[in-house]
């Protein structure tokens, strides 16, 4: 079942079309990659779905409810989780407190001025951290974490509202090659286990070809190709504007 339907989504800045009539849909448990050259409109497209940019035209529906015009925090309440290209965590808090803060809001306890936050939802936070494999780092401040681990913290935070859709903007940017594939592998596992749909942008083709079920290719604001990894990879136009000669990713596509 498709839980996200996007139709004719458009955005222009001062007469320049950043995104033009983009349409696609996404099913529960599916991993969909959004790729394309720098400046093709990926980020704009993404930010229209997460509420940071208002769309000029078109529609985007999540489980039948329109996302257009909603603020990021309202979209979160509908059950959408997010991670950022450059990690955004609460640096003055420990790893566990980061997840606890998200849980506090999920459980509607954010305005309490009596209870000690540190002692609330400890087990639930630890369970989320265990799922992303960093439970043993729970007490460390986020500021001292290795970058790859920080990405996992973000994933745990994003899972706190039990999302049905995850939006991940360049989830593996800035990571070492092996960590990249491991992080997306973990994401794919979680997505399939909990039937979460994942939309992600990415420049590392090793990651994309290994984990995406389907790929969308944007160029100059338009969707130029859509399909299974093998199809997209063989597409002439995509090779020309984006993939190049293929010297920058591994030969064999993972099934």
């Amino acid at each position: 079942m498709n839980i996200l339907r996007v139709a004719n989504l458009s955005k222009a800045y001062g007469g320049v079309h950043a995104v033009r009539e983009v349409s696609f849909s996404l099913a529960a448990g599916e991993l969909l990659a959004l790729i394309g050259p720098n400046g093709a409109g990926k980020t704009t497209c993404f930010n229209m779905l997460n509420g940071q940019i208002a769309a000029d035209g078109g529609s985007a529906e999540f489980e039948g409810r329109s996302l257009i015009g909603l603020k990021p925090r309202q979209i979160w309440r509908l059950g959408v989780g997010r991670t950022f290209q450059i990690t955004a965590t609460f640096a003055s808090m420990s790893v566990r407190e980061n997840v606890q803060t998200a849980l506090l809001n999920y459980h509607g306890r954010l305005n309490s001025v009596l209870a000690l936050a540190e002692r609330l939802y400890v087990d639930e936070a630890m369970e989320l951290l265990a799922r992303v494999g960093i439970a043993e780092q729970a007490a460390r401040p986020c500021a001292v974490l290795a970058y790859g681990d920080l990405k996992r913290v973000e994933l745990a935070i994003a899972l706190a509202n039990r999302p049905r859709l995850l939006l991940m903007d360049e989830p593996t940017a800035g990571m070492a090659p092996a960590e990249r594939v491991a992080l997306m592998g973990l994401t794919a596992e979680l997505a399939r286990a909990s039937n979460i749909a994942v939309l992600f942008t990415e420049h590392d083709m090793d990651v994309v070809f290994a984990h995406a079920d389907r790929i969308l290719v944007l160029n100059r604001g338009r969707l130029i190709a859509e399909g299974k990894p093998a199809e997209v990879r063989a597409n002439r136009e995509v090779q020309e504007v984006y993939l190049g000669t293929g010297s920058l990713f591994s030969g064999a596509a993972h099934a």
Binding site: N50, K71, P72, R73, W76, R77, R82, F84, A88, T89, F90, A91, S92, M93, S94, E97, Q100, T101, A102, L104, N105, Y106, R109, L110, N111, S112, V113, L114, A115, L116, A117, E118, L120, P141, A143, I157, A158, A160, N161
Partner: protein, 628 residues
């Protein structure tokens, strides 16, 4: 008002805008490149006007003497700026923004006393400009020639600055360094030299802006802070770092002010309204309106976070057992003190307790919530006035004390709604603007607030006036309020505030309405500041508009920063040390400001982490050694 009168008011406005623009352009340039909000910029202006006065006297009032004196005054101030940059500010470029602010505020204090020492406390009015001393007939009225010269000066300086910044290599380098100074350095640009030259130019403009005022305005010792708030408004309305924006804003504010004076008293629907009284606040009203609609000023753009400037706050841990014991011991000590100390010490201790609560309430929004308020005295002062006015209207003292904090809270709720829409320097400026508005309302509303005389006879109920009762009341209320504020930092509400400070982007993405949390936090801090103000009023027996003036807000800032913004206990330590120091020094010397400024500078340079921060660092270092 007739058409010709309106035209003359327009010209008046333009004439005063020029000097304002010169000073504002200097502040904007300095902020752009060094990222320092130079509190001492008004002092440079003041030095300009005093220096020009002396130089013109020395050179004689002839053509060459006058104009030479004015120009030389600008140059002298420019050189002074260069020296200050080399000796002091250079050491602070890597320090947190607020410490830089504190250091430049220390300069304000020092320069003020320096001027007092050299030129004395009397107002000094310079001679008329030779050749431009007369008046010309415009629209059937007399208009001073000198003001026509000033009207031309603004656009000429704007043009020269624009050419300098866009058509010269120096200008390109300045703009590059404005955006990313580290990168400019890595490309071979000598930043040290660039910064000194920018500071010198900014100081020159401030000095010149002051010097050209000598025929129009007497040199007064308090003009440093007066012009400073005007110039802050101009820079913020125009957009931080935008020189054309500063020009536009200076003209806008100069003209609106001139019209307010020109209109004078108007009777509308039977109510007399004095527009000339409005001049005290009109620029702040303009600023508030502009910022609500254009949060980055007329021609400004959203400020990126300067690279490497974002200091990571250390994680906050619940206090240890040892801390608890120390706290209990300190409270016990304070409770036992009246048994041994004299009256004077108790009065000082009461002051310290009140200011500790004031500082903790300010820290609550500055630290955990990351909102830097420059106008926190408004809520302190309105709390004090609420208590006094309730008492004057026959409300029992106990009830007045209980209700007064709401005065601070309601004002904070109202002002905060606007403030939380902004962040960083803009937020700070808007809080300052609201404090100034509150001050001027209190200052001018003679019938209700007692105007500049304030209110007297605000004494506590008899059972609280005897012996040490009021001291104990203050101790209990302040300690309880401070502990409650500290506790809140550890509750979900406090976590939401910290989340909004650490990463607004992430906070939004996990469903937190950051503005709403900040707004509630701001109001809460206002309530506690109001309580401190009410206690202050009852302990002194009288209040005046000084209770909510800018220097009081700055005192709060100094206390928080002196103590160390990164520690919860810092505000208390800062309040204690600052209040005690001020008391000791004012009793010793006429030049207490300079001494205080010197001490602040020493603290900033030697203990940039604040008193409590320094102690904690020592403690951790020792603990680390013991473990190893």
């Amino acid at each position: 008002m007739s058409l010709s009168a309106q035209f003359i008011q327009l010209l008046n406005g333009l004439a005063s805008a020029s000097s304002l623009f010169l000073v504002a352009a200097g502040l904007s340039l300095i902020f752009g490149v060094t990222r320092i909000v130079n509190f001492a910029h008004g002092s440079l202006y003041m030095l300009g006007i005093y220096t020009a006065y002396s130089l013109v006297n020395v050179f004689g009032g002839g053509m060459l003497g006058f104009w030479g004196g004015v120009l030389c005054a600008g140059i002298v101030v420019g050189l002074f700026g260069a020296i200050v940059e080399r000796l002091l500010l250079r050491r602070l470029y890597h320090a947190p923004e607020l410490l830089q602010l504190l250091a430049t505020f220390a300069l304000v204090l020092i320069v003020r006393d320096f001027a007092l020492w050299i030129w004395g406390p009397e107002d000094l009015l310079g001679p008329r400009a030779p050749g431009l001393g007369g008046a010309v007939a415009i629209a059937g009225r007399e208009f001073p020639q000198y003001d026509l010269f000033l009207i031309a000066l603004g656009p000429v300086v704007l043009l020269l600055l624009w050419l300098l910044l866009t058509r010269t290599r120096w200008g390109t380098l300045v703009r590059a360094a404005t955006e990313d100074r580290e990168m400019a350095g890595a490309l071979g640009v000598n930043q040290a030299w660039l910064f000194t030259s920018v500071f010198a130019l900014g100081a020159f403009l401030a000095g010149l802006g002051g010097a050209v005022q000598i025929p129009r305005e007497p040199a007064v010792l308090t003009m440093d802070l007066t012009i400073l708030s005007d110039v802050f408004v101009v820079v913020v309305v125009g957009g931080m770092g935008s020189i054309p924006g500063a020009f536009l804003a200076a003209v806008l504010i100069g003209v609106i002010k001139a019209f307010c004076i020109g209109i004078g008293n108007v009777s509308l629907l039977g109510i007399d309204f004095s527009f000339s009284k409005l001049t005290l606040v009109i620029e702040f009203i303009v600023m508030a309106v502009v910022l609500v609609f254009r949060p980055w000023g007329l021609l400004g753009r959203q400020q990126g976070i300067p690279r490497g400037a974002a200091a990571v706050e250390p994680p906050l841990h619940l206090p240890s057992r040892g801390m608890f014991m120390a706290l209990v011991a300190a409270l016990a000590l304070l409770a036992l003190l009246p048994l041994v100390s004299d009256r004077y010490t108790l009065v000082l201790l009461t002051d310290i307790l009140v200011f500790a609560l004031f500082a903790v309430s300010l820290h609550f929004i500055m630290g955990p919530a990351g909102m830097h308020s420059f106008g926190h005295a408004a809520y302190f002062g309105l709390g004090a006035y609420a208590a006094a006015l309730l008492l004057k209207h026959a409300v029992p003292m106990e009830l007045a004390l209980a209700l007064a904090p709401l005065g601070g809270g309601i004002a904070a709720l109202l002002f905060g709604w606007f403030c939380v829409r902004l962040s960083g320097v803009y937020l700070a400026m808007l809080t300052l603007a609201f404090a100034q508005i509150a001050w001027s309302v209190v200052y001018q509303w003679d019938a209700f607030t007692g105007g500049s005389n304030g209110l007297v006879g605000i004494w506590p109920a008899p059972w609280l006036s005897s012996g040490n009762a009021f001291y104990y009341l203050t101790l209990v209320l302040c300690a309880a309020a401070i502990l409650l504020l500290w506790r809140i930092v550890y509750t979900p509400f406090g976590y939401a505030l910290r989340a909004g400070r650490d990463s607004p982007l992430r906070a939004d993405a996990i469903g937190i309405d950051v503005r709403r949390q900040q707004w509630l936090g701001f109001a809460l801090a206002g309530v506690f500041a109001g309580l401190a103000g009410a206690l202050h009023a009852f302990s002194k027996g009288s209040i005046s508009p000084d209770t909510l003036a800018i220097p009081r807000s700055v005192d709060g800032l100094v206390m928080v920063l002196m103590g160390g913004i990164q520690t919860l206990t810092g505000a208390v330590a800062g309040a204690a040390v600052f209040t005690w120091l001020q008391d000791v020094i004012t009793r010793q010397t006429e030049f207490w400001r300079a001494v205080l400024g010197g001490i602040i500078l020493l603290l900033v340079l030697a203990f940039p982490q604040g008193i409590a921060g320094f102690i904690r660092e020592r403690w951790e270092a020792r603990a680390g050694k013991n473990r190893a």
